[in-house]
Amino acid sequence: MLKVRNLNVSYGGIHAIRGIDIDVERGEIVTIIGSNGAGKSSLLNAVSGMVRYQGEMEYEGQQLPSQPHNIVKAGICQVPEGRLIFANLTVLENLKMGAYLRNDAKEIERDLERVYSLFPRLAERKKQIAGTLSGGEQQMLAMGRGLMSSPELILLDEPSLGLAPMLITTIFEIISEIKAMGKTILLVEQNAFKALAVADRAYVLEQGIITASGPASELLRDSRIREAYLGRK
Protein backbone atom coordinates (compact mmCIF):
# COMPACT_ATOMS: atom_id res chain seq x y z
CA MET A 1 0.00 0.00 0.00
CA LEU A 2 2.80 2.40 1.00
CA LYS A 3 6.27 1.86 -0.36
CA VAL A 4 9.13 4.04 0.84
CA ARG A 5 12.47 3.71 -0.91
CA ASN A 6 15.81 5.28 -0.04
CA LEU A 7 14.16 8.08 1.94
CA ASN A 8 16.38 10.92 3.16
CA VAL A 9 15.33 13.90 5.25
CA SER A 10 17.70 16.68 6.29
CA TYR A 11 17.25 19.85 8.29
CA GLY A 12 20.12 22.10 7.37
CA GLY A 13 23.11 20.12 8.55
CA ILE A 14 21.11 17.51 10.46
CA HIS A 15 20.61 14.33 8.44
CA ALA A 16 17.57 12.97 10.27
CA ILE A 17 16.61 10.08 7.93
CA ARG A 18 19.41 8.31 6.10
CA GLY A 19 18.15 6.26 3.20
CA ILE A 20 15.49 4.00 4.67
CA ASP A 21 13.05 1.56 3.00
CA ILE A 22 9.66 0.83 4.50
CA ASP A 23 6.63 -1.10 3.29
CA VAL A 24 3.11 -1.05 4.66
CA GLU A 25 0.55 -3.52 3.37
CA ARG A 26 -3.21 -2.97 3.46
CA GLY A 27 -4.87 -3.99 6.72
CA GLU A 28 -1.64 -4.12 8.72
CA ILE A 29 -0.45 -2.31 11.78
CA VAL A 30 3.18 -1.49 11.15
CA THR A 31 5.11 0.12 13.96
CA ILE A 32 8.30 2.13 13.93
CA ILE A 33 10.02 2.02 17.31
CA GLY A 34 12.99 4.08 18.28
CA SER A 35 14.19 6.44 20.94
CA ASN A 36 13.77 10.19 21.05
CA GLY A 37 15.39 11.92 18.06
CA ALA A 38 15.67 8.72 16.00
CA GLY A 39 13.75 10.31 13.13
CA LYS A 40 10.31 8.79 13.62
CA SER A 41 8.35 12.03 13.28
CA SER A 42 10.49 13.07 10.33
CA LEU A 43 9.45 9.88 8.55
CA LEU A 44 5.75 10.53 9.13
CA ASN A 45 6.09 14.18 8.17
CA ALA A 46 7.79 13.17 4.93
CA VAL A 47 4.88 10.84 4.13
CA SER A 48 2.44 13.67 4.95
CA GLY A 49 4.30 16.09 2.73
CA MET A 50 5.18 18.37 5.64
CA VAL A 51 8.96 18.21 5.17
CA ARG A 52 11.13 18.10 2.07
CA TYR A 53 12.70 14.74 1.34
CA GLN A 54 14.71 12.82 -1.20
CA GLY A 55 13.81 9.33 -2.31
CA GLU A 56 10.74 7.59 -3.69
CA MET A 57 7.36 7.12 -2.10
CA GLU A 58 4.56 5.16 -3.69
CA TYR A 59 1.01 4.93 -2.44
CA GLU A 60 -1.32 2.35 -3.98
CA GLY A 61 1.07 1.93 -6.88
CA GLN A 62 1.13 5.66 -7.65
CA GLN A 63 3.70 8.26 -6.82
CA LEU A 64 2.70 9.99 -3.57
CA PRO A 65 1.39 13.55 -4.17
CA SER A 66 3.65 16.30 -2.86
CA GLN A 67 1.18 18.74 -1.30
CA PRO A 68 -0.14 17.88 2.19
CA HIS A 69 -3.77 18.48 1.24
CA ASN A 70 -3.47 16.22 -1.79
CA ILE A 71 -1.99 13.50 0.40
CA VAL A 72 -5.01 13.74 2.72
CA LYS A 73 -7.24 13.59 -0.33
CA ALA A 74 -5.41 10.45 -1.46
CA GLY A 75 -6.41 8.79 1.83
CA ILE A 76 -3.48 9.27 4.20
CA CYS A 77 -4.03 11.13 7.45
CA GLN A 78 -1.56 11.90 10.22
CA VAL A 79 -2.47 12.16 13.89
CA PRO A 80 0.51 14.27 14.92
CA GLU A 81 2.77 14.08 17.94
CA GLY A 82 1.52 16.34 20.72
CA ARG A 83 -2.06 15.99 19.29
CA LEU A 84 -2.17 19.51 17.80
CA ILE A 85 -5.90 19.73 18.31
CA PHE A 86 -7.52 23.09 17.62
CA ALA A 87 -7.81 24.28 21.22
CA ASN A 88 -9.87 27.34 20.19
CA LEU A 89 -12.59 25.26 18.51
CA THR A 90 -15.23 22.99 19.99
CA VAL A 91 -14.86 19.22 19.94
CA LEU A 92 -17.43 18.99 17.15
CA GLU A 93 -15.67 21.69 15.12
CA ASN A 94 -12.40 19.82 15.50
CA LEU A 95 -14.06 16.69 14.14
CA LYS A 96 -15.53 18.70 11.27
CA MET A 97 -12.05 19.96 10.46
CA GLY A 98 -11.05 16.33 10.06
CA ALA A 99 -13.69 16.01 7.35
CA TYR A 100 -12.58 19.26 5.72
CA LEU A 101 -11.98 17.82 2.25
CA ARG A 102 -15.17 15.78 2.16
CA ASN A 103 -18.52 16.84 0.77
CA ASP A 104 -20.58 13.71 1.35
CA ALA A 105 -22.76 15.02 4.19
CA LYS A 106 -24.47 11.68 4.87
CA GLU A 107 -21.23 9.74 5.05
CA ILE A 108 -19.68 12.41 7.25
CA GLU A 109 -22.62 12.10 9.64
CA ARG A 110 -22.19 8.32 9.72
CA ASP A 111 -18.46 8.61 10.42
CA LEU A 112 -19.21 11.11 13.17
CA GLU A 113 -21.47 8.52 14.83
CA ARG A 114 -18.70 5.94 14.47
CA VAL A 115 -16.16 8.24 16.08
CA TYR A 116 -18.60 8.94 18.91
CA SER A 117 -19.14 5.24 19.50
CA LEU A 118 -15.39 4.65 19.47
CA PHE A 119 -14.86 7.60 21.86
CA PRO A 120 -18.04 8.11 23.91
CA ARG A 121 -16.26 10.84 25.89
CA LEU A 122 -16.16 13.00 22.75
CA ALA A 123 -19.90 12.64 22.26
CA GLU A 124 -20.49 13.87 25.81
CA ARG A 125 -18.25 16.86 25.22
CA LYS A 126 -18.98 17.80 21.65
CA LYS A 127 -19.95 21.39 22.48
CA GLN A 128 -16.96 21.90 24.77
CA ILE A 129 -13.94 23.98 23.74
CA ALA A 130 -11.25 21.44 22.92
CA GLY A 131 -8.57 23.30 24.88
CA THR A 132 -10.38 22.38 28.10
CA LEU A 133 -10.14 18.61 27.51
CA SER A 134 -7.76 16.42 29.50
CA GLY A 135 -4.65 15.01 27.81
CA GLY A 136 -6.26 11.63 27.21
CA GLU A 137 -9.39 13.22 25.79
CA GLN A 138 -7.27 15.41 23.53
CA GLN A 139 -5.53 12.31 22.20
CA MET A 140 -8.92 10.74 21.53
CA LEU A 141 -10.03 13.89 19.78
CA ALA A 142 -6.89 13.95 17.65
CA MET A 143 -7.52 10.34 16.62
CA GLY A 144 -11.21 10.95 16.03
CA ARG A 145 -10.40 14.02 13.94
CA GLY A 146 -7.99 11.95 11.88
CA LEU A 147 -10.64 9.27 11.33
CA MET A 148 -13.10 11.91 10.11
CA SER A 149 -11.06 12.32 6.95
CA SER A 150 -12.04 8.71 6.22
CA PRO A 151 -8.44 7.69 5.63
CA GLU A 152 -7.25 4.34 4.30
CA LEU A 153 -3.86 4.77 5.98
CA ILE A 154 -3.50 6.43 9.38
CA LEU A 155 -0.15 7.68 10.61
CA LEU A 156 -0.10 7.77 14.42
CA ASP A 157 2.78 9.70 15.99
CA GLU A 158 3.34 8.66 19.62
CA PRO A 159 -0.32 8.44 20.66
CA SER A 160 0.64 7.28 24.16
CA LEU A 161 3.01 10.17 24.88
CA GLY A 162 2.39 11.77 28.25
CA LEU A 163 -0.63 9.66 29.16
CA ALA A 164 -1.28 7.76 32.39
CA PRO A 165 -0.80 3.95 32.16
CA MET A 166 -4.55 3.24 32.27
CA LEU A 167 -5.18 5.58 29.38
CA ILE A 168 -2.29 4.13 27.41
CA THR A 169 -3.98 0.75 27.60
CA THR A 170 -7.23 2.29 26.38
CA ILE A 171 -5.50 4.05 23.49
CA PHE A 172 -3.85 0.81 22.34
CA GLU A 173 -7.20 -1.02 22.56
CA ILE A 174 -8.66 1.66 20.32
CA ILE A 175 -5.79 1.24 17.86
CA SER A 176 -6.80 -2.42 17.53
CA GLU A 177 -10.41 -1.37 17.03
CA ILE A 178 -9.40 1.05 14.28
CA LYS A 179 -7.59 -1.80 12.58
CA ALA A 180 -10.75 -3.90 12.90
CA MET A 181 -12.60 -1.11 11.05
CA GLY A 182 -10.45 -2.04 8.06
CA LYS A 183 -7.92 0.79 8.36
CA THR A 184 -4.20 0.41 7.83
CA ILE A 185 -1.99 1.94 10.52
CA LEU A 186 1.59 3.14 10.62
CA LEU A 187 2.31 3.60 14.29
CA VAL A 188 5.32 5.45 15.66
CA GLU A 189 6.10 4.82 19.33
CA GLN A 190 8.65 5.06 22.07
CA ASN A 191 6.52 2.69 24.11
CA ALA A 192 8.03 -0.28 22.27
CA PHE A 193 6.42 -3.02 24.32
CA LYS A 194 2.84 -1.88 23.73
CA ALA A 195 3.54 -1.01 20.12
CA LEU A 196 5.05 -4.41 19.34
CA ALA A 197 2.18 -6.14 21.14
CA VAL A 198 -0.42 -4.50 18.92
CA ALA A 199 1.51 -4.46 15.61
CA ASP A 200 1.84 -7.03 12.85
CA ARG A 201 5.27 -5.91 11.70
CA ALA A 202 7.87 -3.56 13.05
CA TYR A 203 10.94 -1.55 12.15
CA VAL A 204 13.54 -0.33 14.58
CA LEU A 205 14.83 3.14 13.72
CA GLU A 206 18.10 4.36 15.22
CA GLN A 207 19.61 7.70 14.26
CA GLY A 208 17.87 7.73 10.92
CA ILE A 209 18.70 4.15 9.95
CA ILE A 210 16.62 0.96 10.11
CA THR A 211 18.58 -1.44 12.29
CA ALA A 212 16.06 -4.27 12.56
CA SER A 213 12.74 -5.24 11.06
CA GLY A 214 10.38 -8.18 10.96
CA PRO A 215 7.17 -9.55 12.42
CA ALA A 216 6.38 -7.72 15.65
CA SER A 217 6.17 -10.97 17.61
CA GLU A 218 9.72 -11.87 16.57
CA LEU A 219 11.14 -8.48 17.54
CA LEU A 220 9.34 -8.83 20.85
CA ARG A 221 11.42 -12.00 21.49
CA ASP A 222 14.70 -10.56 20.16
CA SER A 223 17.05 -10.29 23.12
CA ARG A 224 18.91 -7.26 21.74
CA ILE A 225 15.68 -5.32 21.28
CA ARG A 226 14.38 -6.47 24.65
CA GLU A 227 17.46 -5.00 26.21
CA ALA A 228 17.56 -1.72 24.29
CA TYR A 229 13.86 -0.86 24.13
CA LEU A 230 11.96 -2.96 26.60
CA GLY A 231 14.35 -2.71 29.51
CA ARG A 232 14.27 -6.47 30.18
CA LYS A 233 16.13 -9.58 29.18
Binding site: S48, M50, Q67, P68, H69, V72, K73, C77, Q78, P80, L84, I85, F86, A87, N88, L89, E93, K96, M97, G98, Y100, L101, R145, S149
Partner: protein, 293 residues
Protein backbone atom coordinates in the same frame (compact mmCIF):
# COMPACT_ATOMS: atom_id res chain seq x y z
CA UNK B 1 -27.63 65.56 27.08
CA UNK B 2 -28.26 65.92 23.36
CA UNK B 3 -24.62 66.78 22.78
CA UNK B 4 -23.69 63.64 24.66
CA UNK B 5 -25.86 61.48 22.41
CA UNK B 6 -24.59 63.32 19.37
CA UNK B 7 -21.01 62.51 20.37
CA UNK B 8 -21.82 58.85 20.89
CA UNK B 9 -23.32 58.68 17.41
CA UNK B 10 -20.37 60.46 15.82
CA UNK B 11 -18.02 58.20 17.73
CA UNK B 12 -19.82 55.05 16.61
CA UNK B 13 -19.81 56.25 13.05
CA UNK B 14 -16.07 56.87 12.84
CA UNK B 15 -15.46 53.84 15.07
CA UNK B 16 -17.30 51.60 12.62
CA UNK B 17 -14.93 52.71 9.86
CA UNK B 18 -11.97 51.92 12.11
CA UNK B 19 -13.58 48.53 12.64
CA UNK B 20 -13.74 47.81 8.90
CA UNK B 21 -10.02 48.49 8.71
CA UNK B 22 -9.09 46.83 12.00
CA UNK B 23 -10.63 43.47 11.13
CA UNK B 24 -8.32 43.37 8.11
CA UNK B 25 -5.32 43.75 10.40
CA UNK B 26 -6.69 41.16 12.77
CA UNK B 27 -7.47 38.58 10.10
CA UNK B 28 -3.94 38.72 8.76
CA UNK B 29 -2.39 38.85 12.20
CA UNK B 30 -4.41 35.87 13.42
CA UNK B 31 -2.88 33.58 10.80
CA UNK B 32 0.44 35.12 9.77
CA UNK B 33 1.36 36.77 13.09
CA UNK B 34 2.49 40.10 11.72
CA UNK B 35 0.89 43.52 11.38
CA UNK B 36 0.15 44.18 7.75
CA UNK B 37 1.10 47.84 7.47
CA UNK B 38 0.37 47.79 3.74
CA UNK B 39 -3.31 47.74 4.69
CA UNK B 40 -3.36 51.55 4.67
CA UNK B 41 -2.28 51.54 1.04
CA UNK B 42 -5.17 49.28 0.14
CA UNK B 43 -7.60 51.57 1.95
CA UNK B 44 -6.18 54.58 0.10
CA UNK B 45 -6.59 52.82 -3.23
CA UNK B 46 -10.14 51.89 -2.23
CA UNK B 47 -10.92 55.58 -1.78
CA UNK B 48 -9.59 56.33 -5.27
CA UNK B 49 -11.32 53.32 -6.87
CA UNK B 50 -14.63 54.51 -5.42
CA UNK B 51 -13.98 58.08 -6.52
CA UNK B 52 -13.28 57.05 -10.10
CA UNK B 53 -16.18 54.63 -10.16
CA UNK B 54 -18.45 57.52 -9.18
CA UNK B 55 -16.94 60.17 -11.45
CA UNK B 56 -15.45 58.34 -14.43
CA UNK B 57 -17.45 55.28 -15.33
CA UNK B 58 -20.53 57.19 -16.38
CA UNK B 59 -21.08 57.86 -12.68
CA UNK B 60 -21.98 54.57 -11.04
CA UNK B 61 -24.58 54.82 -8.31
CA UNK B 62 -23.34 54.66 -4.73
CA UNK B 63 -23.76 50.93 -4.16
CA UNK B 64 -22.28 50.06 -7.55
CA UNK B 65 -19.24 52.19 -6.86
CA UNK B 66 -18.92 50.66 -3.41
CA UNK B 67 -18.90 47.18 -4.96
CA UNK B 68 -16.25 48.23 -7.47
CA UNK B 69 -14.08 49.75 -4.74
CA UNK B 70 -14.42 46.62 -2.60
CA UNK B 71 -13.62 44.24 -5.43
CA UNK B 72 -10.61 46.13 -6.78
CA UNK B 73 -9.20 46.71 -3.30
CA UNK B 74 -9.65 43.00 -2.57
CA UNK B 75 -7.67 42.16 -5.70
CA UNK B 76 -4.90 44.59 -4.74
CA UNK B 77 -4.65 42.98 -1.30
CA UNK B 78 -4.43 39.53 -2.85
CA UNK B 79 -1.76 40.72 -5.29
CA UNK B 80 0.23 42.26 -2.43
CA UNK B 81 0.13 38.97 -0.58
CA UNK B 82 1.44 37.14 -3.64
CA UNK B 83 4.22 39.62 -4.37
CA UNK B 84 5.28 40.91 -0.97
CA UNK B 85 4.55 38.09 1.50
CA UNK B 86 4.31 34.71 -0.21
CA UNK B 87 8.02 34.59 -1.10
CA UNK B 88 8.81 35.32 2.56
CA UNK B 89 6.42 32.64 3.73
CA UNK B 90 8.08 30.09 1.49
CA UNK B 91 11.37 30.80 3.23
CA UNK B 92 9.87 30.82 6.71
CA UNK B 93 11.14 34.36 7.24
CA UNK B 94 10.70 35.95 10.70
CA UNK B 95 7.86 38.45 11.32
CA UNK B 96 10.18 41.42 11.09
CA UNK B 97 10.81 40.73 7.40
CA UNK B 98 7.09 40.72 6.74
CA UNK B 99 6.66 44.06 8.48
CA UNK B 100 9.48 45.62 6.48
CA UNK B 101 8.02 44.23 3.28
CA UNK B 102 4.60 45.61 4.28
CA UNK B 103 6.01 49.07 4.98
CA UNK B 104 7.80 48.99 1.65
CA UNK B 105 4.59 48.06 -0.13
CA UNK B 106 2.76 50.85 1.66
CA UNK B 107 5.33 53.48 0.60
CA UNK B 108 5.28 52.08 -2.92
CA UNK B 109 1.51 52.38 -3.24
CA UNK B 110 1.44 55.91 -1.84
CA UNK B 111 4.12 57.08 -4.25
CA UNK B 112 2.58 55.24 -7.15
CA UNK B 113 -0.56 57.29 -6.63
CA UNK B 114 1.40 60.54 -6.25
CA UNK B 115 3.21 60.07 -9.57
CA UNK B 116 0.23 58.76 -11.53
CA UNK B 117 -2.77 60.61 -10.11
CA UNK B 118 -1.03 63.42 -8.31
CA UNK B 119 -0.73 64.63 -4.74
CA UNK B 120 -3.80 66.87 -4.70
CA UNK B 121 -6.82 66.50 -2.47
CA UNK B 122 -9.96 65.34 -4.23
CA UNK B 123 -13.52 65.17 -3.08
CA UNK B 124 -16.38 62.89 -3.92
CA UNK B 125 -19.31 64.57 -5.61
CA UNK B 126 -22.23 64.97 -3.29
CA UNK B 127 -24.33 61.82 -3.50
CA UNK B 128 -26.62 62.31 -0.55
CA UNK B 129 -28.54 65.23 0.79
CA UNK B 130 -26.43 67.27 3.18
CA UNK B 131 -29.48 68.00 5.27
CA UNK B 132 -29.04 66.29 8.62
CA UNK B 133 -31.61 63.98 10.10
CA UNK B 134 -33.21 65.48 13.17
CA UNK B 135 -34.28 63.22 16.01
CA UNK B 136 -35.62 65.51 18.70
CA UNK B 137 -32.68 67.60 19.85
CA UNK B 138 -30.17 65.37 18.17
CA UNK B 139 -29.11 65.96 14.60
CA UNK B 140 -27.23 63.31 12.72
CA UNK B 141 -25.58 63.70 9.34
CA UNK B 142 -26.80 61.26 6.72
CA UNK B 143 -23.33 60.18 5.78
CA UNK B 144 -22.64 59.19 9.39
CA UNK B 145 -25.73 57.01 9.47
CA UNK B 146 -24.77 55.54 6.12
CA UNK B 147 -21.21 54.83 7.22
CA UNK B 148 -22.42 53.09 10.32
CA UNK B 149 -25.05 51.05 8.49
CA UNK B 150 -22.74 49.90 5.69
CA UNK B 151 -19.99 49.06 8.15
CA UNK B 152 -22.38 47.11 10.35
CA UNK B 153 -23.71 45.12 7.41
CA UNK B 154 -20.21 44.38 6.09
CA UNK B 155 -19.00 43.26 9.49
CA UNK B 156 -22.09 41.08 9.98
CA UNK B 157 -21.39 39.36 6.66
CA UNK B 158 -17.76 38.82 7.68
CA UNK B 159 -18.79 37.37 11.05
CA UNK B 160 -21.24 35.06 9.35
CA UNK B 161 -18.51 33.78 7.04
CA UNK B 162 -16.09 33.25 9.91
CA UNK B 163 -18.52 31.65 12.34
CA UNK B 164 -20.91 29.72 10.14
CA UNK B 165 -19.17 28.54 6.97
CA UNK B 166 -16.66 25.83 6.25
CA UNK B 167 -14.14 28.36 4.99
CA UNK B 168 -14.62 30.30 8.22
CA UNK B 169 -13.95 27.16 10.23
CA UNK B 170 -10.73 26.65 8.28
CA UNK B 171 -9.74 30.28 8.95
CA UNK B 172 -10.30 29.78 12.68
CA UNK B 173 -8.41 26.49 12.61
CA UNK B 174 -5.49 28.08 10.76
CA UNK B 175 -5.45 30.94 13.22
CA UNK B 176 -4.76 28.41 15.94
CA UNK B 177 -2.34 26.15 14.11
CA UNK B 178 -1.54 26.19 10.41
CA UNK B 179 0.45 22.96 10.60
CA UNK B 180 -2.45 20.98 12.03
CA UNK B 181 -4.83 22.57 9.50
CA UNK B 182 -2.50 21.53 6.74
CA UNK B 183 -2.48 17.97 8.09
CA UNK B 184 -6.29 17.98 7.96
CA UNK B 185 -6.18 18.75 4.25
CA UNK B 186 -6.55 22.52 4.40
CA UNK B 187 -4.75 24.30 1.59
CA UNK B 188 -3.23 27.03 3.75
CA UNK B 189 -2.30 29.17 0.73
CA UNK B 190 -5.94 29.27 -0.23
CA UNK B 191 -7.04 30.27 3.26
CA UNK B 192 -4.49 33.08 3.21
CA UNK B 193 -5.76 34.16 -0.20
CA UNK B 194 -9.27 34.33 1.26
CA UNK B 195 -8.32 36.39 4.31
CA UNK B 196 -6.49 38.92 2.14
CA UNK B 197 -9.45 39.06 -0.22
CA UNK B 198 -11.92 39.60 2.64
CA UNK B 199 -9.69 42.09 4.45
CA UNK B 200 -8.98 43.93 1.19
CA UNK B 201 -12.66 44.17 0.27
CA UNK B 202 -13.51 45.63 3.67
CA UNK B 203 -10.58 48.02 3.25
CA UNK B 204 -12.08 49.12 -0.08
CA UNK B 205 -15.43 49.77 1.58
CA UNK B 206 -13.75 51.65 4.42
CA UNK B 207 -11.61 53.69 2.01
CA UNK B 208 -14.57 54.79 -0.04
CA UNK B 209 -16.72 55.69 2.97
CA UNK B 210 -13.87 57.56 4.57
CA UNK B 211 -13.10 59.38 1.32
CA UNK B 212 -16.74 60.39 0.99
CA UNK B 213 -16.88 61.65 4.54
CA UNK B 214 -13.63 63.62 4.32
CA UNK B 215 -11.36 63.91 1.27
CA UNK B 216 -9.21 61.66 -0.89
CA UNK B 217 -5.44 62.09 -1.01
CA UNK B 218 -2.40 59.79 -1.27
CA UNK B 219 -1.63 59.82 2.47
CA UNK B 220 -5.18 58.96 3.51
CA UNK B 221 -3.89 55.52 4.48
CA UNK B 222 -2.33 56.90 7.66
CA UNK B 223 -5.81 56.68 9.10
CA UNK B 224 -5.09 52.99 9.49
CA UNK B 225 -2.76 53.88 12.35
CA UNK B 226 -5.99 54.45 14.25
CA UNK B 227 -7.47 51.14 13.23
CA UNK B 228 -4.20 49.46 14.15
CA UNK B 229 -4.45 51.02 17.60
CA UNK B 230 -8.05 49.84 17.76
CA UNK B 231 -7.01 46.32 16.78
CA UNK B 232 -4.33 46.26 19.49
CA UNK B 233 -6.79 47.79 21.97
CA UNK B 234 -9.33 45.05 21.26
CA UNK B 235 -6.65 42.34 21.06
CA UNK B 236 -4.78 41.67 17.84
CA UNK B 237 -6.02 38.55 16.14
CA UNK B 238 -9.48 38.70 17.70
CA UNK B 239 -12.21 39.89 15.34
CA UNK B 240 -14.78 40.77 18.01
CA UNK B 241 -11.91 42.51 19.81
CA UNK B 242 -11.10 44.55 16.72
CA UNK B 243 -14.71 45.67 16.41
CA UNK B 244 -15.19 46.53 20.08
CA UNK B 245 -11.79 48.24 20.23
CA UNK B 246 -12.64 50.32 17.17
CA UNK B 247 -16.02 51.47 18.42
CA UNK B 248 -14.56 52.36 21.80
CA UNK B 249 -11.68 54.24 20.19
CA UNK B 250 -14.11 56.16 17.99
CA UNK B 251 -16.17 57.16 21.00
CA UNK B 252 -13.20 58.03 23.22
CA UNK B 253 -11.65 60.14 20.46
CA UNK B 254 -14.85 61.95 19.69
CA UNK B 255 -15.42 62.77 23.34
CA UNK B 256 -11.84 63.92 23.71
CA UNK B 257 -12.16 66.12 20.66
CA UNK B 258 -15.53 67.44 21.76
CA UNK B 259 -14.89 68.12 25.43
CA UNK B 260 -11.18 68.95 25.38
CA UNK B 261 -10.04 70.07 21.93
CA UNK B 262 -10.07 68.48 18.52
CA UNK B 263 -6.29 68.75 18.29
CA UNK B 264 -6.12 66.17 21.08
CA UNK B 265 -7.78 63.50 18.94
CA UNK B 266 -4.60 61.73 17.83
CA UNK B 267 -2.81 62.34 21.11
CA UNK B 268 -5.61 60.53 22.90
CA UNK B 269 -5.52 57.61 20.48
CA UNK B 270 -1.78 57.11 20.74
CA UNK B 271 -1.78 57.54 24.52
CA UNK B 272 -4.38 54.82 24.64
CA UNK B 273 -2.08 52.54 22.62
CA UNK B 274 0.80 53.05 25.02
CA UNK B 275 -1.39 52.55 28.08
CA UNK B 276 -2.76 49.29 26.68
CA UNK B 277 0.64 47.97 25.72
CA UNK B 278 1.85 48.63 29.26
CA UNK B 279 -1.17 47.44 31.22
CA UNK B 280 -2.66 44.70 29.09
CA UNK B 281 -0.58 43.84 26.03
CA UNK B 282 -3.03 41.18 24.86
CA UNK B 283 -5.78 43.81 24.57
CA UNK B 284 -9.38 43.51 25.70
CA UNK B 285 -10.12 40.18 24.00
CA UNK B 286 -6.83 39.01 22.57
CA UNK B 287 -5.07 35.80 23.28
CA UNK B 288 -1.88 36.27 25.23
CA UNK B 289 1.00 36.33 22.80
CA UNK B 290 4.72 36.40 23.15
CA UNK B 291 5.56 39.17 20.74
CA UNK B 292 3.35 41.73 19.10
CA UNK B 293 5.27 42.69 15.98
Amino acid sequence: MSIFIQQIINGLSIGSIYALMAVGYSLVYSILNFSNFAHGGVIMLGAYFGLYAVTLVGGLPFLGALAVAALLAGLVAVALEKIAYRPLRKRNAPSLYFIISAMGASIFLENLVIVTIGPTFRTYPQMFSAAPIALGNVTISRIDVLMFAIAAISLAVLMFIIEKTKVGLAIRACSFNTKASNLMGVNVNRVIFIIFLLGGMLAGVAGMLFGMRYTVYPQIGVITNKSFIAAVFGGLGSLPGAVVGSLLLGIIETFGAGYIASTYRDLIAFSLLIIILVIRPSGLMGRVTEDKA
